[in-house]
């Protein structure tokens, strides 16, 4: 007798389609072979003979061996995820890179096909090779990797890195850039190389401009690169997995009205005052006015506010400059404001919203949340105050951290733009932390796909597929049977039952499960009994009818098992 709990579980696991009804699975080549091409000279880098004690599952006994093992381990993790008939060659070395520089990796070449369905897009060479099924540039390597001999990486394979940067994690991140997690449009001019978009930036959409990156003019791309919180990834694989990776609760500073400036704003936080969202604040904004101190202005908030009557119960808007952030926030608190927003002054016109340190004196008197804005955003708000500006400062529990309101993953697009790092990473607001944020966070795992991460989903959206020998939609390393019996109907001992062969959520089919019973049964009676139990469960779960159960049990009884 099956409990309802188990019935529900089986129902949830059953995909509910007969295998034969699946769309034709494309032929897969199997896990990509990733070759580490060691170009270090004897005695250095990967060949460094310095004795080393095995660490964290890395059995190497020299420094060079341990470095190579870490490279191979990271390569194996990616290999298990990526399907390609063409080996991916990573030309690699450890070399002195100077203090502070850990290493680098990137695609050696980008390729576009001059005709056919893939024309009109640049792809990293490893992906282009996968599409072509042959090495398009056999004389060249695919990814270039340089890592530092100056830096003391954690070389274990178990992610137990303590305070040290974990080499395997760093490699997973940098290899992902080389596999296609990066784009080529100039962030300075907006120009696309040869006027052609790439596989990555084809998936970028700007919520404010309302266009994808390939649709934009150069000027629009330049602007979009600094549209904090509004550049999102539209690829279906990432979007469908956002709910399993990113948690609800997005810290936000948002203008709610007027519509002309209503949007989330990039903001800096303070080391003093109430944490954002504890609780949230929603109120109108009032520009604070104070006495003009020597060298200051009436908007810098460095003295007691002279319009406290207007500020009380509102969010005070103050300009950066002359005095410390904590002084301004203390004055706002004492004027009765419910929060304070400090925007950059002219001297910091092109600066990001600053993180605001305490001066050791005034911070203790700040009892309200304090955030900072860019100068452009501050002035935009200031210009609208006549018609009333309402703002929410808090944690939006309806939006996932690192996603937009539509549940699409946000891309890193801060102001000011940061070289190539902008756009080629996930937003730093993502939580759980993601492998492809600009910083390597200490809590990352070595897992690169949902529900732990979204990096592989980005690679899928640009064209990578996972190894799937039986074409059942389950990656081989997660498939309970990578070579499932995918026949249309259940056949037992040559007897076709006519009962649809169902694919379950584990990657096994009905026929696979019956085969497992056959393999484990001690005799014919055990087999028949096991099949009876299984088919009873299927009936209880609504997967097959009673008549179909009878057909399967009859075939089992008549079979030679």
């Amino acid at each position: 007798m099956m409990t309802s709990h188990i019935v529900q579980r089986i129902r949830a696991l059953a995909i509910g389609v007969a295998v034969g009804a699946l769309t034709a699975g494309s032929a897969t080549a199997g896990p990509a072979q990733i070759v580490i091409v060691n170009i270090n000279d004897a005695g250095v880098g990967f060949n460094d003979p310095t004795p080393a004690a095995p660490v964290g599952g890395n059995p190497g006994t020299t420094l060079g061996e341990q470095r190579l093992n870490a490279f191979r381990h990271a390569a194996e993790i990616w290999s298990a995820r990526l399907d390609s008939a063409v080996p991916i060659r990573i030309r690699a070395q450890f070399t002195p890179l100077g203090p502070g520089v850990l290493g680098s990796a990137g695609a050696v070449t980008f390729v576009r096909f001059l005709s056919g369905p893939l024309a009109g897009t640049f792809y990293p060479i490893a992906l282009a090779n996968k599409f072509a099924g042959t090495d398009l540039l056999p004389a060249a390597d695919d990814i270039n990797a340089n890592f530092s001999t100056n830096f003391n990486f954690y070389l274990g394979l178990d992610n137990n890195h303590g305070t040290q940067p974990d080499l395997v994690t760093v490699l997973l991140h940098e290899f992902a850039h080389g596999l296609g997690f990066s784009q080529l449009a100039s962030l300075a001019t907006g120009a696309l190389p040869a006027g052609v978009p790439d596989a990555y930036n084809r998936n970028l959409f700007d919520n404010e401009i309302g266009l994808s990156w390939p649709q934009m003019t150069n000027a629009q791309r330049v602007a979009s690169a600094t549209h904090f919180g509004r550049v999102v990834w539209t690829g279906a694989n990432v979007t469908s997995h956002v709910p399993s990776v990113l948690v609800f609760g997005s810290p936000t500073v948002q203008v709610d009205a007027p519509a002309a400036i209503a949007r989330p704003y990039q903001f800096g936080t303070a080391a003093f005052g109430r944490p954002i969202g504890n609780p949230g604040v929603a109120a109108n904004i009032v520009a604070a006015v104070d006495a003009v101190d020597a060298g200051g202005t009436s908007t810098d908030g460095c003295s007691a506010f002279t319009n406290a009557g207007a500020v009380i119960g509102r969010i005070a808007l103050v300009e950066r400059g002359l005095c410390g952030f904590a002084v301004k926030a203390r004055n706002a608190t004492e004027a009765g404001a419910v929060a304070v927003v400090i925007y950059n002054n002219a001297a910091n016109v092109n600066a990001a919203p600053p993180g605001m340190a305490d001066d050791g004196t005034n911070g203790q008197f700040v009892l309200i949340p304090a955030v900072s804005l860019t100068r452009a955003d501050g002035l935009a708000i200031l210009a609208q105050l006549g018609s009333g500006v309402s703002m929410t400062i808090g944690v939006d529990q309806t939006v996932r951290a690192g996603a937009d309101a539509q549940g699409r993953a946000r891309i890193y697009a801060p102001f000011p733009v940061v070289g190539g790092s902008s756009i080629s990473h996930f937003d730093t607001f993502a939580f759980h932390n993601l492998l492809m944020e600009p910083a390597i966070n200490g809590d990352l795992t070595h897992k690169v796909k949902a529900p732990d991460d979204l990096t592989f989903e980005v690679l899928r959206d640009i064209g990578w597929t996972f190894p799937d020998a039986d074409g059942d939609g389950f990656a081989d390393d997660e498939d309970c049977n990578p070579n499932s019996n995918t026949g249309t109907t259940i056949v037992i001992g040559g007897i076709d039952t006519g009962v649809p062969n169902t694919l379950f959520g584990t990657g096994c089919t009905s026929s696979d499960l019956i085969s497992k019973i056959a393999a484990g049964a001690g005799n014919h009676g055990g087999f028949v009994s096991g099949v009876a139990q299984l088919t009873n469960d299927w009936v209880a779960a609504g997967i097959i009818s009673g008549r179909q159960k009878g057909a399967v049990q009859s075939a089992a009884a008549r079979s030679g098992f």
Binding site: I39, R91, Q93, T95, P96, L97, G98, P99, G100, V101, L102, G103, S104, A105, G106, A107, V108, T109, F110, V111, R112, F113, L114, F122, I125, A128, L136, L137, N144, N146, F151, N152, T163, Q164, P165, V170, H173, E174, H177, G178, S182, L184, A185, S186, A188, T189, L192, P193, A194, V196, V418, G419, G420, S421, S424, H425, P438, A439, I440, G442
Partner: protein, 145 residues
């Protein structure tokens, strides 16, 4: 005094240029000649100095300011490995139905690290010299332009 000061400055410049050259030579195994020339040009276009301690001294284990040679080495490597103007990329048609953009050993993400007071490391993946310099506290040294 002036002559001695000039000589010292000249030696400093030569030393810095030598450090840049050595760093570029060290990378020559992975990057092509054209790329390293471009990188060297970029590295020479700006001179940086350190303003923040981020070097863990191998002898003492203490965090210290970078030497000028170390600053030059970091800048040269960032220039060689990081992103260059997209406009510099030339598309090349090949005989097998594709066109290629050779990234010349650059355009890679470069991971940097600086130590925190608590013994942990803050890391950042950058693509340009300017971004890397900002993270490591390197500022343009106008005095030797």
């Amino acid at each position: 005094m002036k002559a001695q000061g000039t000589g010292k400055r000249l030696r400093t410049l030569i030393g810095a240029a030598a450090a840049v050259s050595m760093a570029i030579i060290a990378l020559a195994g992975t990057t092509r000649a054209a790329a390293t020339t471009d990188a060297a040009d970029q590295a020479r276009a700006k001179h940086y100095k350190g303003t923040r301690a981020f070097v863990v001294d191998k002898t003492t284990g203490a965090v210290r300011m970078p030497t000028q040679q170390e600053v030059d080495e970091v800048v040269a490597n960032l220039s060689a490995l990081g992103q260059r103007p997209v406009e510099s990329l030339q598309e090349t048609p090949q005989s097998n139905g594709i066109a290629t953009l050779d990234l010349e050993g650059g355009f890679g993400g470069v991971l940097l690290a600086r130590p925190n007071d608590d013994g942990t490391w803050e890391t950042k993946c950058v693509f340009t010299v300017e971004e890397g310099a900002e993270f490591l506290g390197l500022v343009e040294d106008e005095s030797i332009r």
